[in-house]
Symmetry: C2
Subunit: 478 residues, 2 copies
Amino acid sequence: MAKEKKVEQITDMEVDFAQWFTDVCIKAELVDYSAVKGLFIMRPYGYAIWENIMHTLDRKFKETGHENVAMPMLIPESLLQQEKDHVEGFAPECAWVTVGGSEELPERLCVRPTSETLFCQHWSHVVHSWRDLPCLYNQWCSVLRWEKTTRPFLRGREFLWQEGHTIHATEEEARAETLQMLEIYADTLENDMAMPVIRGDKTEKEKFAGAENTYTVECMMHDHKALQSGTSHYFGDGFAKAFDITFTNKENKLAHPFETSWGMSTRVIGGLIMTHGDNSGLVLPPKIAPIQVIVLPIAAHKPGVTEKAEELVSRLKAAGIRCKGDFSDNSPGWKFANWEMKGVPLRVEIGPKDMEKGQCVAVRRDNGEKIVVALDELETRIPELLNDVQQGLFDKAKANLDSHIFEAHSLEEAKELQETRGGFIKTMWCGDLQCELDMKEKAGMSSRCIPFEQEHLGDTCPICGKPAKHMIYWGVAY
Amino acid sequence: MAKEKKVEQITDMEVDFAQWFTDVCIKAELVDYSAVKGLFIMRPYGYAIWENIMHTLDRKFKETGHENVAMPMLIPESLLQQEKDHVEGFAPECAWVTVGGSEELPERLCVRPTSETLFCQHWSHVVHSWRDLPCLYNQWCSVLRWEKTTRPFLRGREFLWQEGHTIHATEEEARAETLQMLEIYADTLENDMAMPVIRGDKTEKEKFAGAENTYTVECMMHDHKALQSGTSHYFGDGFAKAFDITFTNKENKLAHPFETSWGMSTRVIGGLIMTHGDNSGLVLPPKIAPIQVIVLPIAAHKPGVTEKAEELVSRLKAAGIRCKGDFSDNSPGWKFANWEMKGVPLRVEIGPKDMEKGQCVAVRRDNGEKIVVALDELETRIPELLNDVQQGLFDKAKANLDSHIFEAHSLEEAKELQETRGGFIKTMWCGDLQCELDMKEKAGMSSRCIPFEQEHLGDTCPICGKPAKHMIYWGVAY
C-alpha cells in the first residue's frame, strides 16, 4: 500500500526563522488554522504539551494555597470602565457581544481580555473582614484580544492561559505573593521547560494596565529575540478603591485590601519551539514532552522483534515513562523523520542484532548521540538519559543566552550591537520615558526589564547623560 | 472577638424546593452572581467539585483512547449555517460578537453554543485517508446559550462542560463509540456521584439538532423531577456531507466518515445538590467531595486536644483521604452547621474524653449516625465509613427513583399519577409526535427517553390507541 503521508521538509531556520517556526507548528501537528483570523486550533499533540505545563503549574499553585475558580467570560462595558488605566489599556483590543438570541443587548459585553474587573466585583460581594482574606484564586480559561497581526502561539486573538488573582490585608503580603508567583514561573520555565530566564521589573511604560509594578521573566529565543514568558502584577489598593472593596481589619477599622494578578499563557509553547527547535523540527524537554520515548522496531518482520519492542514499551511505561511504540508499516526513515519532527526526546531502536546482544540503542533528539543500553539496565538508564537531554537542552539555551548579552555605553553602541550580534543589550538608565522612546525609535529595541540582579556599568544614562538609576536590559521582542 | 459570619438557616425543601436549591448554592459558597444575568461565578468550593468530576471523566476518556484539543470560541455565522438542522436548533440562542477592537466585523461571529461545526471544519482539513481515522477528541471549555430563564448550575447562559467529538470510518464503529461514552456517563453518575440513572434513546422531538440518535442518562431529583444528565449523539454521515469531509477507505474509494458527539456539563452539580441535599444543606458523595473528612477538636483549649486533632488530619492525609481540620475560633455549633452546609461526608470529633479512651467519634453526614472509632484503626475504619456513606447515598437515591416510577395505561392516568405522586410515568407509545405533544399539553410531561430496558406494558399507545412501538418514560424535567 502506498504511503499517503510523508514527512516533508521544513524551511531551514537560517533561511527564514519565521517560516521555520510556522512550518514546525503545522508539520509537528501542534495547530491548525480556523475560519477566524488569529483563532487557532490546538491539535492533540499541541494541547498535550499545554496539559503538561498546566499540570506542573496547577500543582505548584495548589501547594502554595491557591484555589481554582471560574469567572464568566463576558464583562459589561460599564464594569470594564471602572478602573481608568485598566480600560485604557484593554478597550482598544476588546471583542464585543452586542446581540444575544434575537435581541440587541441594552449594554454591550466584552469577551474577557483579562479578568481583574470580574474578580474585583466578586470580592466586593464576599470580602468583609480580615477573616475573609487572603483570597488566593486562579482560573484556567481562554481570553480574546483583537490583535492586528497574529501568529500561532505567539500572538493570537484568542489564547489559553491561567490568570491568578489574589487579595490581601496588607501591602507586604501582596508584594510577597507577586514575587512568589514570579518565582513559580521562573522555576517552571527553567526546570520543566529548560528555558533560562532573566527576572526583573517592567518599566512604567511596559507594565500592565492598572498595575503599580509588573515583574517579568524574559527568555531569549534561538534568533536572539526576547520572549516575555510570564508576568506578575502588584496592584496596591488601586483596584480595591475603584471597585469599592473594603474590609474590617484586626483593629476593627474599615480598610482597602491589596491585590495581585499573574499569568502565563500558551505563548510559552511558542517559546519552547523557538528555544529548543532545530531544522529537523520540534525538540521537547523530557519533563513536558507528551511522549518521552518512542520505541521503533528495526527489521520488524524478523521473528520476535515486534514482540521485543512491545515488551520494551511495557517496561518503560511501568517505570513511569511516557512511552509509545511505532508499529505502523511506515518505513524506518519515515518514522525517524516523523518522531524527530515531533521532538520526542529519546528514540529507542531494537532490531535482531540488538536482541542477540541483549541491548537496544537510544538516540538523543537534542544532539543525535547514540547510546547502547543493556536491556537489563533499561529502567535505570533511560530515566538517566532523559535527565541528560533535559540538562543538555537547558545548558544549550543558557549558553545561547549568556553569549548574547552585551554591554553598551551609548545608544549608538547599543544599536550596533543589536544589529551585528543581536540579543539583550544591558545599559544604565536614568528612568525617563523619553530615553526609552529614543531607544525604541533609534535602535528598534524595547526595554525588557530592570533585572533583580543589578550591575553597576557606569554612573550616567548612555542615552541622555543624566545620572543613572538602574541597569536595564533592552531587546527586540516577540 | 465577635463572629462576623454565622451559618444562617436555609429554606426547607418541603416549603419551597426552588428556594432551598438557591439557598444551598449560595450558602454552601458554590456560586456567586455576576453582573450579567445567567453568567455565574463558580467559587472555589463549587469549582473543586467540578474539578473532581473532570478528573474522573478525563481519566476515563483517556483510558478509552481520547485526546484533548482546544477549538476556538468563535464560529463565523456562515460556518454555523452549514448544517441546516443544527443551525435551526442553535441560532435562536446564540450570542454574537459584532465588533472587534474599534471595527465592525464583516461577518458576525457566534460565541460557541457547541462546537460540531468547528470540529467538522478542522476534520475537512486533516482527514484524508482511513489511516487518519478515527479521531477521538474531547475539549473542556465553556459555551454560551442565550436562555431566557436562568438558574445556577441548572440553566446558565454560560456553562462549563466537556464536549467529545469523534469521527470514524464506519457506522458500526461510530455507533459503538456513542454507546461507550453514554456508559462512561452512567458509570460516573452512578459510581462516583451516587446518582442512579435510566439509560435510553431520545425521541425525534427531543434529540440533538442534527443528530440521527441521541442517547441520554436521566436522573430523578429529590422533588421527583427529571434531570437529563449526559447525552451522546450519533450523527451518521450527515455532518460529514454538509462539511464535505471525505476519506479514501481501505478499498481505495472516496467515502464520507461517521461522527459522534457527547457532553456532560456543570449541570450535574445541580443534580448532585437536588439528589442528595437536605434541609441542613449540601450532601456530597465521598468520591467527588473536595473535603471528605473534617476534623474538629472539641474543647480545643484543653491540653493536647489541638495537637491530637492535627495528628489525625496528618494521618488521614497520609492515608490518601482529602481531609481538613477546622482550628478556627468559631464555636463547635457553628462549625457543625458550617461543615454540614458544605456537605462534607464525615465529621470526625476528638476531645479530652475521647483521647483518654483512645478513640474519636465519626459522624456521617448522610444519616447523622455517630460511630466510635478506635484511634489505632483510623486508617482502615475511615475509608470504610466513607464507602458506607457513598453506598448509603446511592441506595437512598435508588429507592427514591424506584418508588417513583409508575405505570399508566391512559393519558388521564398518567396525568393523575404525575399530579398526585410525581416521578417517571412509563407507558407504551406509538412513536408519533402528536401523542408526545398531547402528553406535554394535557399532562405537562415531556418524553424523557425510550429506555434500553424495554418492558411490554400493552399493545397499544394509551394516548391515541394505535399499535405501540416502544415503552417510554415521561416526566417533568429541569
